[in-house]
Symmetry: C2
Amino acid sequence: MKRRGILIVISGFSGAGKGTLVKELLKNYDNYALSVSMTTRQPRPGETDGKDYFFVTREAFEEKVSQDGFIEYASYCGNCYGTPRDYVEEQLAAGKDVILEIEIQGALQVKKKNPQTLLLFVTPPSGEELKRRLVNRKTETEEVINQRMARAVEESAGIEQYDYLVINDDLAECTVQTHQLIQAAHATPDRNQDFIRKIRRELGEL
Amino acid sequence: MKRRGILIVISGFSGAGKGTLVKELLKNYDNYALSVSMTTRQPRPGETDGKDYFFVTREAFEEKVSQDGFIEYASYCGNCYGTPRDYVEEQLAAGKDVILEIEIQGALQVKKKNPQTLLLFVTPPSGEELKRRLVNRKTETEEVINQRMARAVEESAGIEQYDYLVINDDLAECTVQTHQLIQAAHATPDRNQDFIRKIRRELGEL
């Protein structure tokens, strides 16, 4: 029996280290595929089409919406962002666990339509540590840092909607833990319906 | 913050290797405590009071029932069996993950009263393999083997009520997997309410 992949949403506070965690998962294990979002916003310097995002026109985006071509989509600061369905489906069918790195509204949209989606929320060990990490980046102004902290307060309201809380203190430990949480999800009865049907049939026949 | 233990129920087909799995968990990891059941049945040769069971009179058992002293109890073949509450509570408070090895009716009773209980169902990889293991024990008559197989068919109806399905093919792998499933359970939001409250408070104050 071929094991179908799991759709995984990774969300969390800005500064929690989601991006680095996802990179480590992809580097250390071979069962993951990363979903690349489609967006109508302009590429920033250094961003590559097809790697960071698929950059498309608003018309192309809207056509895909009308074809139900996104697992989830949203607009943010006047631009549209969406997760193309075809790539995700293809990878899940091939047995890959597919990672989406999206925020809470998108996460809940995905879970509603795909109840077997695994939702992970990444957080630093404390509020202090979150602020320290944002300050240490040295790329953001104090105003941006304050906005992100305010946003973290809002986002924290949604933690209970997630399946697992991942506390990112030590990156290596956190990567192993996240991998194990995803592996655990493969052992739920709803993800093993073929096996359960098989063993029931065998027991009935013996 | 002291981490409270998780109450774990391990059920599964007779012949699935539950007993051996539980022994391996206790031997290889130090976070587990095994709950010892109380029973009104007579000790069998080789059984030790306080280790295999607490052997008590029917009067003593009924008094404990009247004091709500059991997490779950049931009668089976004219004898009563129950899980004493005090030991379980004491170990959970001390941070131990407490294992109960009980069958499905008891498991569902425990889960209903304690929704955070983790239910694990252990199964061999196939019906054939289950039969092979029962036959190879060489301690059971063909009649008993057939009864156990018939009972396995009934029990298999309850698999979907469990949180995780543990396929016991290789014992060492199965032990590690079971340990990881239990560790994963520690990362759910409902088992981290103190942490979530703490980080919300911190974010609000920064």
